[in-house]
């Protein structure tokens, strides 16, 4: 288990090797070696993960480095190595006079879960990319960025101190920038990448401020020490709330919570495997992970929890409505991701720690599958507008089936993974939050089933779009990876049940405070099953069979529809405020710098000196008679002076 650090380091190590090899090898050799290296690195990580997992299940509090976690009975193992120190090293009196930074890893159930998800999805995506990105001229860079991306994400989930987490956090942001903007020749990916980086960076400011605020009260960046200090009540209620909210600001940026969700749909401009990675395993999961990781802080502040839940619900509902009317297949999936991330945040806000992580995992597998499916469609048809598609199952049956599994899973059809995790969230919300929350959550669940049905039926079922006559199904590398993901999307939900063996079921593995078995509220489960099935049946009627006419509804709800299709005009608002406020302000400041600080403040004295010189030299006329006059005036002046003095 001490070797868990190998998981990210393998991928990190692959990065410079790929880049350097890329300079010396050319063409296909370089591409193949790059792909092989990256895949080998992540495969190695995946294998190490299983050893770590096994080691963790076998470990107890007697294992070196392991003890019971803070605020939870779960086992937490911590291994560290000094990185550097700054300030006065042996200041015994005041621990705030120095910082002691470590490369440290923290292995606990949350980390294990995230490691498993990230390594597996990344492995699948990288293999898938072999087919999808085939022939791209910069494949070596693609794999280098990929390896860096996943390595950063793995570091993020392993970090045992906030600073290391922040470092990985920023690297994740950078890699998303590089990968979203991978096709930088076109302006849209370029802009989308910039947007993603800057929007998440705004959240990062909150994160960094929060981290430093915690440090300035605890004197350490270590998570465990921080949690212990908070649990011991060393920090005031206000500080805890504020730092929790600041951390949440970072999470909002990365997990695309309202109002920072705008970058995620635009990020669809990147290559589709990258979207799959971002949506399922890395970037957006980081926000949810952060809130879960810092749960001892959040759980101390009821206010913070409420805000987390509210933001989550707003995001979930808003994004679900947009997903229902979006026309771009990848954007439907993107808004669906936002919506589900909102559900996870909602769940965390409702103290549904297990449910949130469970849903993160279940959603991760399903969403990766969906994106790879969408990528497969796009790869074959080079079309993304769902209105132009239809009946594609005739030409790409494998993709159709696999995509459908993902959609059904995410839509909450029983026995598939999504059903179980969604059910847990509903239970948590029902238990902790007011009635309005559960009603809206159920509405979101309905909507999410509906838009998944729409995406699935419109694209793959119904009337066949003739222009796709000659389209082929996905190549093997792509379909095999999708198949593996589909297996997980089907069976992963079963971990919710109480299982025999050391694992015992997810409720006994990932938990806050203390473990618990499967909870099942019959009426809620029944209601969600009914809603999901009804949504899919309705979707089939409306989108595949076309037996339900939607035109009437469209006309009746013209205005709300327009608003939803306009994505609630949040992008426009941002654009306006950036163009009109930020950039104008910047120009204003630049003008101030030129006109006031420079031309008045700095050039001013110089100009005054010069003008003074110009003015004063006029009195030196060079005319004899002027001097004579000056002498006469001087004489008069002296006389007057003498007269004044003498009288």
């Amino acid at each position: 288990m001490e070797w868990a650090w190998l998981i990210p380091v393998l991928s990190f190590a692959a990065v410079p090797v790929i880049i350097v090899l890329g300079r010396f090898l050319t063409g296909k050799v370089s591409h193949r070696s790059a792909a092989a290296l990256a895949i080998a690195a992540i495969l190695g990580g995946f294998i190490v993960f299983w050893f770590v997992f096994a080691g963790f299940l076998a470990a107890d509090t007697d294992t070196p480095g392991c003890e019971t976690g803070v605020g939870t009975e779960a086992l937490t193992c911590n291994y560290k190595l000094t990185w550097f120190e700054a300030g006065i090293p042996d200041a015994l009196t005041d621990s705030f006079d120095r910082i002691h930074l470590e490369w440290g890893i923290l292995v606990d159930p949350l980390t294990i879960a995230m490691l498993g998800l990230a390594t597996f999805v990344a492995l699948m995506v990288q293999i898938y990319s072999l087919g999808y990105m085939h022939g791209d001229p910069r494949l070596d860079w693609y794999y280098a960025f990929h390896a860096l991306f996943i390595a950063s994400m793995l570091t993020l989930v392993l970090a045992d101190n906030f600073l290391l987490l922040y470092i990985a956090w920023e690297l994740v942001g950078l890699c998303s920038y590089l990968l979203i903007g991978f096709w930088h020749e076109r302006p849209e990916p370029r802009e989308a990448a910039k947007k993603a980086f800057i929007v998440t960076r705004i959240g990062d400011v909150g994160l960094l401020v929060g981290i430093l605020l915690l440090w300035s009260h605890v004197g350490s960046f270590s998570m465990l020490e921080t949690f212990a200090a908070i649990e011991a009540g060393e920090l005031s209620e206000g500080v805890v709330t504020i730092s929790a909210l600041l951390l949440f600001l970072g999470a909002m940026g990365k997990s695309a919570q309202f109002p920072f969700h705008v970058w995620l749909p635009d990020a669809m401009e990147g290559p589709t495997p990258v979207s799959a990675l971002i949506h399922a395993a890395t970037m957006v999961a980081a926000g949810v992970y952060l809130v879960a990781r810092a749960f001892p802080i959040f759980s101390e502040s009821q206010t913070a929890l409420y805000i987390v839940a509210s933001i989550g619900l707003i995001t979930a509902l808003g994004a679900a409505t947009i997903a229902l009317v979006a026309t771009d297949l990848k954007r439907i999936l993107a808004y669906s991701t936002i919506s589900h991330l909102g559900l996870m945040m909602l769940s965390l806000g409702a103290l549904g720690y297990t449910a949130a992580i469970f849903h993160l995992l279940a959603h991760g597998f399903a969403k990766a599958l969906l994106f790879l499916g969408a990528g497969s469609v796009m790869h074959s048809t080079e079309e993304l507008d769902v209105r132009k598609m239809g009946g594609l199952r005739k030409v790409m049956p494998i993709t159709a089936i696999l995509f459908s599994i993902g959609a059904l899973s995410l839509g909450g059809i029983p026995i598939l993974a999504g059903f179980w995790s969604k059910d847990e969230i509903l239970i948590a919300v029902n238990k902790e939050l007011p009635l309005i929350f559960i009603v809206l959550t159920l509405l979101t669940a309905l909507l999410s089933a509906l838009y998944m049905a729409r995406a699935m039926f419109v694209v793959f079922y119904g009337k066949f779009a003739e222009q796709f006559e000659h389209v082929h199904d996905a190549p093997k590398t792509m379909s095999i990876t999708m198949g593996l993901l589909a297996i997980f999307a089907i069976v992963f939900g079963l971990v919710a049940l109480d299982l025999p063996g050391p694992f015992k079921g997810i409720g006994y593995f990932i938990f806050y405070h203390e473990g618990h078995g499967l909870e099942f509220v019959i009426w809620l489960a029944a209601l969600s099953i009914v809603l999901a099935i009804a949504a899919f049946i309705y979707g089939y009627m409306a989108y595949a069979r076309k037996s339900v006419n939607l035109e009437g509804a469209r006309q009746r709800f013209a205005l709300p529809l327009k608003v939803a299709e306009g994505k609630y005009y949040i992008d426009e608002l941002y654009q306006w405020s950036i163009d009109r406020v930020v950039l104008s302000f910047s120009r204003f400041i630049a003008w101030i710098d030129r006109a006031l600080v420079n031309d008045v403040g700095i050039n001013g004295p110089a100009d005054v000196t010069r003008l003074l010189g110009h003015g004063l030299r006029r009195h030196v006329t060079g005319y004899v008679y002027s001097y004579a006059l000056a002498m006469a005036l001087g004489l008069i002046g002296l006389a007057i002076l003498w007269w004044i003095v003498s009288t």
Partner: protein, 531 residues
């Protein structure tokens, strides 16, 4: 080796100076000879600076490599007192590296190249002198030796900027700002830089003389920093005296550090200067100012720095509080100004102003971590900004364009230059794993413990950096390759060497800053004992 230790500090000052002198003997009409000779000289200084840094014993701490060469006896008492402490050590190394890089990059200087390298080496010698000299008279002497060649270097080898008018509306209102219609002649940049810096020098000189006279009233008058420091810690200088002398040093040195609102010489100077000079200027010279505030201002006048001048509520406003406010303004203001610039060099110039703000903030926190961060930021920013200027120089050399509204898609033709620039840019926006993050983060840490609201503002400023750096990268390097750039060649071997080496340094400091922090720590510790 111990013999070398004895004279290493003297050598590191004299070698470039002697190199400058000997360069004058070279034939005028063979520019390559001057270049080779300058490489030879700066390579020696590089080796010496590395040696000094490595051999500085951070466990013993304090001043090391001490040598005193007596010069003038009483009543003047001026000696060439050489010593290096933990704060100076990384800066000496920085100057060694950047000077070498600047000389290499200046391969393209063909016009009167011999004279160019004479001045460049003299400048380098002055910078070394300021860092290692412990006597106010010689400190001022070397300070001027570092500053004065700038005028000629910019005035003779610089480049002028001509921009079309670029009028902008404010919030859609018909108020128009005339932003772009500036023709900044190189003579203007040189003259402004010179005048502003000399104005700062005047303040410093007044302060130095005040110290000399004040020391004469309690003991034998002296210029020696060591003796003055001893008098200061013995409480011989009254708080009132300290309070009025400290701002002389703070503003005087602050001008060179780009302290707002005395910063405008710096973008104009950077823009006009030739590449190698920009590197040295932004990379090392601006650090002299910040270093001077620590070495002279804080060490000699600790009470003047921290005694409250007046009270705003319960908060006693000292000169240090004023300094940190100005530093914060530097950070945010520089970043915002950089956002709407069009000229590559102006963007980097304003980013230097912004980044020097972190240094100033870190100094003014008077917090061990913050001050360590400030010194590390000096090193990190020196390398990063020198790298940026080097790559901008490479681009300008080939395209003769620096306007980012015109440049695009350079990545295709100039892969290496773009890559190096991007790394420097990422370091500049505080990306973890590169040196900028470690330093900025330490400054934030210090500031959070002392001036929380300003620290939050500074973090926001760091986020603003991302905006203008990404804007620059996206406009300049990404995008479809323009047919105009078909003929462009990528970075020359020399440029690749410099870029690659600097990138490695940035990475090294970012990943493993311990060799630097442990040296800086001991210096910072001894300074902060005075407070």
């Amino acid at each position: 080796m111990s013999n070398l230790d004895q004279v290493a500090l003297l050598l590191i000052i004299l070698v470039p100076l002697a190199g400058a002198g000997l360069s004058m003997l070279l034939p005028r009409n063979r520019p390559e000879d001057a270049w080779y000779f300058a490489i030879f000289v700066s390579a020696i200084t590089l080796v010496l600076s590395v040696l000094l840094f490595v051999r500085y014993d951070f466990e013993a701490g304090g001043y090391q490599f001490v040598r005193v060469y007596e010069w003038l006896d009483a009543p003047l008492n001026i000696d060439l007192y050489l010593a290096m402490d933990g704060i100076a050590a990384p800066l000496v190394l920085l100057n060694g590296i950047v000077l070498f890089g600047a000389v290499l990059i200046s391969q393209t200087i063909k016009h009167r190249s011999r004279d160019f390298f004479v001045l460049l080496l003299a400048l380098g010698s002055g910078v070394f002198g300021v860092f290692v000299v412990q006597d106010l008279f010689f400190l001022f002497f070397f300070y001027e030796l570092a500053v004065l060649p700038m005028y000629l270097l910019i005035g003779v080898w610089g480049s002028s900027t001509y921009f079309d008018s670029d009028r902008q509306r404010l919030w859609g209102l018909p108020i128009r700002f005339d932003l772009g219609s500036y023709n900044r002649l190189k003579e203007y940049g040189a003259m402004k830089l010179m005048l502003v810096l000399v104005a700062g020098s005047v303040l410093i000189w007044v302060g130095i003389l005040a110290m000399y006279v004040a020391s004469g009233q309690v003991a034998e008058a002296t210029f020696s920093l060591v003796d003055l420091g001893a008098l200061s810690s013995a409480g011989e200088f009254s708080p009132a005296f300290q309070t009025w002398v400290f701002p002389l040093f703070m503003i005087g040195f602050g001008v060179l550090a780009g302290l707002w609102p005395f910063h405008t010489w710096s973008p104009d100077g950077h823009v006009a200067a030739p590449t190698g000079v920009s590197m040295l200027h932004a990379g090392v010279l601006m650090k002299l100012g910040a270093f001077g505030i620590i070495r002279v201002g804080m060490v000699l006048l600790p009470e003047g720095a921290q005694d409250p001048l007046f009270y705003a509520g319960d908060f006693g406003v000292s000169w240090m509080a004023i300094l940190i406010i100005m530093g914060t303004v530097n950070v945010v203001y520089g970043a915002i100004s950089a956002m709407s610039q069009r000229d590559l060099k102006y963007i980097i110039g304003y980013s230097s102003v912004s980044h020097m703000g972190y240094v100033i903030m870190g100094i003014a926190t008077l917090h061990p971590v913050g001050l360590t961060g400030a010194v590390l930021q000096m090193f990190s920013h020196g390398i990063m900004t020198a790298l940026m200027f080097a790559m901008v120089g490479a681009i300008y050399e080939r395209t003769h364009i620096r306007d980012i509204t015109v440049l695009n898609g350079l990545m295709k033709r100039m892969g290496f230059a773009s890559f190096f620039f991007a790394i420097a840019g990422l370091a500049s926006l505080g990306l973890p794993g590169l040196s900028g993050f470690v330093a900025e983060f330490m400054v934030f840490t210090g500031a959070f413990k002392t001036y929380l609201p300003l620290a939050v503002l500074a973090v926001v400023g760091a986020a603003l950096t991302a905006i203008y750096i990404l804007r620059l990268l996206a406009r300049t390097f990404f995008g479809e390759a323009d047919p105009r750039w078909e003929h462009l060649t990528d970075a020359s071997p020399v440029e690749k060497t410099v870029g690659g080496a600097f990138v490695l340094i940035l990475l090294f400091v970012g990943v493993w800053p311990a060799p630097f922090t442990r040296v800086i720590n001991v210096g910072v510790e001894s300074v902060l004992q005075l407070f």
